[in-house]
Amino acid sequence: MPKIADILWIIPLLPLAGAAVNGLLGKTWPNSRVNVVGIGSVSLAFLAVLELVREFFTQPMAQATIVKSFGPWILAAGFRADFGFWIDQLTIVMLLVVAGVGLLIHIYSTGYMAHEGGYYRFFCYLNLFMFFMLTLVMAGNLALMFVGWEGVGLCSYLLIGFYFLRKSAIDAGKKAFITTRIGDVGFTIGILLVFWTFNSVDFGPIFTKAAAMPVEGMGHVGTLTAIALLLFTGAIGKSAQLPLYVWLPDAMEGPTPVSALIHAATMVTAGVYMVARMHVIYSHALTAMLVVAIVGTITLFYSATISLVQTDIKKVLAYSTVSQLGYMFLGCGVGAYAAGIFHLMTHAFFKGLLFLAAGSVIHAMGGEQDMRKMGGLRTKIPVTYWTMFAATLAIAGAPLFSGYFSKEAILDAAKDGPNANLTLWIIGILGAMLTAFYMFRLLFLTFFGAPRYDEHKVHVHESPRNMLVPLVILAVLAVAGGWFALPTLVGGPDHFQNFLRPVFESGAMGSVASAESSAETSGSAGEHLVRALLAPGVIVALIGFFTAWWFYIRRPEAPKKLAQNLHGVYVLLLNKYWVDEIYLALIVRPLLWVSTNVLWHVVDEGVIDGAVNGSARAAREIGGEVRLIQSGNARSYASWVVIGAVCVAVLVLGVLGMVR
């Protein structure tokens, strides 16, 4: 058996094969066989990843990164893009997350989608997604990364529009694809700029050359900054940051596993991954970093506010995802790439879990998504409840839960990292509070209080095992996923970040932040523990929790009052600041109008074709006039001859210059 490292392509290709088989043959198959192919391919891929990890760790630390190329993909004059892969610690993390969570969600889907039509289609798409996602994280050059980048976009388009009979669904799919593509324009141009700057799109040369270039300080916008910003626009689109986040909430039209996998755990975090991957460039472009941080911060707060009042369970989670992504960018923006990735991972666990749990709830409620029509499910679906509870704690940043470590890491970096920025930190803290609030609001509305649904119609039932198993596993991860950083509680090292350090120090120069830089600031274990447990993040989380409790358990009628008192704000939030409407009115409609009434009807048909046909008509009219010479009267003809004779004579003599 060859080393996986030598046949890396097997990892993405396995799911692709699965997709192909299911797509071409699955139509007539029973679900079971589809499962075999779908799950089988992914689990094989997962095993391959594990094997790769093993090999990675067994290899001498000297060549930390495995760079393999399997032939050229695009080749022209100076330009070359290979089917090349780049495996380093960062990739390992991503691979584990993607393959692992992906596998779990595949399994989950077997239950969730069991009764849906187009079962094979679903798994085909899902496998295809795995293929592209794996390509994205393993890619050894920007071009190939872009393949995954666009590919996952395609899959999200297909999966969001999975119920293609539902207009809202297909609209959402289209919206997702197009919106992200807007970002990708920037990304593409970024790649072009990268190529002409470094004469290559392979990471290796880029990193070394970029590292050699001088840092472009604050306010100085040079090539690197330009590259960074351009690439970041791609990230904005893909990771649903302001102002291109609008597609993500709509994306909830897709089946819930999809939301979990693509729109929470993996695809949407691609942007973060990309920024981390390109950290060398970002670290050399401080302006760009600031922009990243600011965008992230604003987004995290903004979308958190929106999710405060959402009533659709998945919408809440969607906005929460946007918000959490904001945190990750904040992390990267302040130079704590490791922290960002850390949060990316933990988020993959707990948000994936949240979605799956929500899915399980919806499944239990027979498709109902409105939290106002739920309540008191705690007893009816305990497993779902407990797992979701764990996830909520994790995201709210309750100490010792995974989310706690990652979010703290980010916030610390924002507070006293190298690129620290207090305003951002404060907003981040507030965001944390809101997060705690809306998450517990969700929890309470769903599981506590009296049932607000008609118990005779809806027969609430716990989900089948193949859905619960993933829930449980993810719950475990959501709880324990952050324990790499456990030592930090007592001022120890953060193993996760240590693990990633080689990657982010490969950027050679400074500004590689790691959250435990705070830990360096001495002090005994005890103090550390106290400081850690009483960290502002924790406190605000508690505040959030209590307000939520107050509003939704203690005084269930309070929210309405508040809504009436702050009606304006409430409506504003409920309608998501009317951003969709604004886009529609300012961009979409005018564009269509112009295209139809100006470009098409006026320019095309009116001006150009008008000119063409007009000249034709003119010619014919001239012809009509000319014909009149042929009056049919011989005398006129004779006259023409005479005219001709006179003219010719005059002309000739004129030329002769002898007309006196």
Binding site: S631, N633, S639, W640, I643, V646
Partner: protein, 168 residues
């Protein structure tokens, strides 16, 4: 004012007058007679130019044969007075004016034309010589065109046959 000049101007005047009559006479017969007048006066001018043979031919063939043919046809078709319709604006506003212009222009231009040298001797060459010379030219130098004319006449006959023949 010598005799030649006198002759010239007299018959030139007659010729022009005849031409004008051709134009202004309303009845074809009158026009025809006017044309004959022109031809006769031209014959005289030929004599003046020392071309007796041509003058003779002019009288015999032209005035004699061709114009008679015209007159006969006019009689045959008993063509009445020509009605002066004015359907052709071209003729009225371009043709006739320019025709008149052309008349004067040509006259003007030709009056300035640099001609070949004037006659070596005022004496007219004796008739026989001229005629013999003519026949030489006709049957030696210009034999080919001469033959061609025979074909032309043949064609004319054919034409008359084809066109004017009554179908039985």
């Amino acid at each position: 004012m010598t005799l030649p000049y006198l002759l010239f101007f007299t018959f030139a005047a007659i010729a022009v007058a005849g031409a004008l009559l051709v134009i202004f006479m309303k009845h074809p017969i009158h026009s025809a007679l006017a044309l004959i007048l022109v031809m006769v006066s031209l014959a005289v001018l030929y004599l003046l130019l020392g071309a007796e043979f041509i003058a003779a031919v002019q009288i015999i063939v032209y005035a004699g044969a061709i114009m008679v043919l015209f007159v006969i046809v006019i009689m045959l078709l008993n063509a009445g007075v020509e009605q002066r319709t004015n359907l052709s604006k071209m003729a009225r506003f371009a043709g006739v004016p320019l025709g008149i212009f052309l008349t004067f222009a040509l006259a003007f231009w030709l009056s300035h034309a640099a001609l070949a040298k004037p006659p070596a001797n005022a004496l007219l060459p004796s008739t026989e010589d001229a005629t013999r010379e003519l026949s030489n030219l006709l049957f030696r130098t210009y034999l080919f065109p001469f033959e061609a004319t025979s074909i032309v006449i043949l064609i004319a006959i054919l034409g008359a046959l084809v066109l004017a023949r009554r179908d039985s």
